[in-house]
């Protein structure tokens, strides 16, 4: 049951990632087609402009949560297809849990710190 729930979370995180990454991609890579008025979405002014808006920070942190879970669970599935070793299963589980938490803390701290410093 626990594994089924983790799998369901994987599917839900896929939908969440598609939605938030879709927003990110539309702003960054469809600026001309959608006429967003952004000449260069990667410029410092544009980047910091978004980083200081709480709405964008929320979108980026939600994207981070969904994408991180989806990516790590997906990669775990691929690795565990190639081996049946219990040791490998435990090692991969702990590596991904600890690594995922560290990446989440660091990658969500940066936008929060940028927002509060402005």
């Amino acid at each position: 049951m626990f594994r089924t729930r983790l799998r369901l979370l994987f599917l839900l995180s896929a939908v969440g990632t598609a939605v938030f990454l879709g927003i990110h991609m539309a702003v960054q890579h469809l600026n001309n087609v959608l006429a967003t008025g952004e000449l260069d979405p990667t410029s410092w002014a544009s980047t910091i402009g978004r980083a200081t808006q709480s709405g964008w920070v929320v979108i980026y942190i939600l994207l981070l949560v969904f994408a991180l879970y989806h990516a790590l669970y997906g990669l775990r599935g691929i690795i565990l297809e190639l081996t049946t070793s219990e040791k490998a299963l435990r090692a991969v589980n702990w590596l991904f849990i600890v690594g995922g938490v560290i990446v989440f803390i660091w990658a969500s701290y940066v936008p929060l710190a940028l927002m509060s410093s402005r």
Binding site: W44, L82, T83
Partner: protein, 148 residues
């Protein structure tokens, strides 16, 4: 791994993604899904490093980084990542719908010549591919008219 494979004679490993016998279209979509997923993950790692370590160091470092990434090689890479995202997202949506049985139709008696549910409902797969191609063209159009 070799000793383990002796006990699992059907284990094809990563090679089985590309060749496992009589492949149908959905099997190639599965391979494409894996390859695009791993590609997006690799890009995501670099993108996180760029937007955290480099952005934290201020405007000059950020401009130097984005300037470096505007080389043609990285520009092509970015287009490939956009393509990979569209393919992975829409094929993933197709897989989720299938997992919940939404696009598979009702069960039928197995009457010869047998046809599996995937092939009876191939229209959904073709629709997903058509949407993928349209979105890829939109991304390409944005790039051609000088977009980011």
């Amino acid at each position: 791994m070799q000793a383990e494979a002796k006990h699992r004679p059907n284990l094809l490993g990563a090679g089985g993604w590309f060749w496992a016998g009589n492949y149908k279209m959905e099997r190639y979509l599965y391979t494409l899904h894996r390859v695009t997923g791993l590609g997006i993950l690799l890009f995501g790692i670099f993108h996180l490093i760029e937007t955290t370590f480099f952005r934290r160091q201020g405007e000059s470092v950020w401009q130097m980084t984005t300037g470096f990434l505007k080389q043609p090689l990285f520009e092509v890479g970015l287009i490939l990542v956009a393509f990979a995202f569209v393919i992975h997202a829409l094929n993933g949506l197709r897989l989720i719908l299938q997992e919940f049985g939404i696009t598979l139709g009702k069960p039928k008696r197995p009457v010869y010549p047998y046809q599996d549910a995937l092939r009876r409902k191939r229209g959904y797969t073709m629709l997903a591919i058509a949407v993928i191609v349209i979105l890829l063209l939109v991304f390409l159009l944005n790039r051609l008219v000088g977009g980011g």
